[in-house]
Amino acid sequence: MSGMDAIIKEFLAESAENLDQMDQDLVALEKDPANQEVLSRIFRTIHTIKGTCGFLAFGKLEAVTHSGENLLSHLRDGSLDLSPEVMTMMLSMVDAVRKLLSAIEKTGKEGDRDYSELILDLDRLDEEAGEKKKDDPKADNTSSTMRGSGRTSRIELVPEASEDAKETETLADPEAASKKKSPSKRRKKKESQAIVNAPLEQPVSGGAVAGDIDGDHEQEITAPTTSSLGESSLRVDVHVLDHLMNLVGELVLARNQILRLSEGIDDQQFGVASTRLHGVTTDLQEAVMRTRMQPISLLWKKLPRFVRDLSQQFGKKVDIQMEGQDTELDKAVIEAIQGSLLHLVRNSLDHGIETPEVRRKSGKPVTGILRLKAHHEGGNVLIEVSDDGGGIDNEAVLKRGLEAGLVSEAEAGSLDPAQIRALIFQAGFSTARRVTNVSGRGVGLDIVRNNIEAIGGSVEIHSDPGQSTSFRLKIPLTLAIIPVVLVASQGQRFAIPQLSVVELVRFDDQSGGLGIEDLNGVPVYRLRGHLLPLLYLDEELGFITSRKPGGGSVNIVVLQGDDRRFGLIVDTIEDSQEIVVKPLGQLIDGLPYAGSTILGEGAVALILDVLRLGLKAGVVSEARTHQAAPDEGLEIAAGVDRRTLLYVMGPADERLAIDFSAVDRLEFIPVSDIEKVADLPVVQYRDEILQLVWVDQTLPERRTKMRKIADDPDLDALQVVVCTVDGMRVGLIVYRILDIIDRNMDVTRPASREGIETCVVVEDRVTEIIDLKALVRLADPGFFERGLKPSSGGR
């Protein structure tokens, strides 16, 4: 939108409001012709429109309003009486103005309609009044000056008039809406305040009157005013809104207190009243919240210039595209993400989009595209910053990660693409080959992530190597008031942000352990077939150190921390309510709390930081994968947790799994063929000596009375899984091979005993995935060090 367009738009909106007001005023004036205040207001409105359209070169509109103004000035100085004829002329003039404005709004031009007749009529009345005035010595010379000075003087009037309009607009007074009802009160106000652009109660009424008089274009008159132009707005100081927000926050607390009290009072009337208070407060809160909402375009409008400057600096050609500029979010949130957004844009321009030469060579259009998208999703705003540049070179990222010491050589091999990409969010990472003065200092993306997470958001990254990179920010709509679930542990209440709560589970644990399984000392709960690691809040917070197994009901708050789910066992789950977040002092930094709040009755409660709690307890892993949500349709992340497993059964019916990529062959080996070398089982296998590992005897035992594979009297041949581990071949003796499965390991948890990599749920059974290397070491600590020649190509 050009600057001129913006001015015209503002002019239209302003004029529409003024005209609506004027319709009412004219009707009021007809009833009370002596009301100078109303007359002055009408005069000013027309004067303002005339002045502004002179400036914008709308000649017809200017001519109409000019004649109207002259007529009004006669009315004002008393040289013209408000006869029905004059009134009709005035309303016709307003209609003409409205029609012109509507034409301007639609086409940008005034249209072809001829208003000369109206102008002639107006001028005729004007002249009659002028003659009358000559005979009237009392009349002042306002109107004659105006008329006499003609066009030039009208132009001179413009700045003054617009200034006036601006001033009154900023002085917007909420009382203005009711001024019609209380004229005496209004009269005491200064004139400048009295002509505020106020929202109208009945914008249609004036139009209807006009329509009666000038019936042939009533449709044209009313339609535009009630729809597009009818919108009214006023400017309010942000501090007023902040104050309002605080007050509403306190009101919400008071409301909560009342609701809590009402539960203990058996009075129906009181109950009804408090329910009503609840409803009104909720609506009020929402409404006030909305006043603080601002379109993201506020942030984005700086970007084209920013991108232009940067692309010149980098010698790149970049077009910026924006979608969803109207997406609204809280002012505080906009401020909080501003830096991060600029950084991502800078990052895309510096590291993402290639130079024109490179782009030409790779067959892309020379001009790169930076795309910004925003939209609402649930209680969040999703903002996407994407470019069609070189994408993220995983190899380079990994190399850089190794150089910077962010990953070890050993870890590097096992990282999946999403994990590698996540490295760029680590502190101290930068793939830039050179340090530029805008980015590439090795700080940045980690700070972006920290900043976004600090306000309860998240960052995801997607990349199609060679084609595109996109960063997706998920931002909460507002920061000030959040819904929480209140829980209690050892008599103390804690708030858990509802955003992190997936569901609440409660069951009676009468048999003292049913429902909660113990996976080698780590409690887990099987929730609809998924394995949910559990934390006891009282243990995590150090209230108690040991737990006696006992019955009673168990309350689990199922939480989502990052991309992992876990259950938090609390003593009681109280209720959910909305709270005002208050920051904690520095003394309480580094603890699993996201802030504090004051509950209804004035008590302070801590807000739990779910992610940190999970990290602390180890149920959320530090090496986070910023992967796509499964419904994204982007298959980049699909490989992340998808594994092919050899599913085996142990002698005590336990389930184990072996990563299939390590499996070479499955063999039956007669028990009699097993020999012993240095007390280790071996077998001659394909012209070499294959060392064997008894899986059941090697894994640390959970149960004492476990059956051994060797105990089976009917056993004459052993099932052996021949695997290659670190380039060396080894045979795992398992009890029975069940299946080969290929699936998403959606719920996993860390291993609870040595030799196990992780636990998953397969067909409703807790299944431990064997960590082959660890298992072999357990069986034979010196196995890998003996330097046996790799028996195969290795992995």
Partner: protein
């Protein structure tokens, strides 16, 4: 002359500059903060503001505040870190001290208290210990 706000922590008679103190009040409800350093007594709600309360008895290593008779007072400080409360056993008067009368801390002070007290003022009949407030409320504790 300097004005000092005084209070007792156990047997110690301590003062801090009056300009650091916002108010002194008794307050009953404290929300403990699990896992916080031991001397962080908890949070209090001071007219809608969350205030971190520091147990000066534990901070000075002379036993928790209020251990004598259960009474305790909050000396509310307002500084860059936001609102803080020093939880003490008993509040004293505001006294005027002579800057010149500042002496080294008495040798009888031991351990953590020694580090937190930067000197003493001789008053009539008793010694007022000059608390290093910034150190006392430092994050490391």
């Amino acid at each position: 002359m300097l004005q000092y706000c005084t209070f007792w922590v156990g047997e110690l008679f301590i003062g801090i500059e009056v300009s650091r103190v916002q108010e002194v009040l008794s307050h009953s409800s404290i929300t403990p903060v699990p896992l916080a350093p031991v001397h962080v007594k908890g949070l209090i709600n001071l007219r809608g503001h969350i205030v971190t309360a520091i147990d000066m008895g534990l901070r000075l290593d002379v036993g928790p505040a209020g251990s004598a008779d259960g009474d305790m007072m909050h000396v509310i400080l307002n500084d860059d870190q936001g609102l803080l409360s020093l939880v003490v056993d008993r509040a004293g008067d505001v006294v005027e001290v002579d800057k010149e009368a500042h002496e080294d801390p008495p040798d009888t002070l031991q351990g953590e208290a020694r580090r937190l007290i930067r000197g003493a003022f001789k008053l009539e009949g008793r010694l007022l210990l000059d608390l290093d407030v910034d150190y006392a409320v430092a994050i490391s504790g």
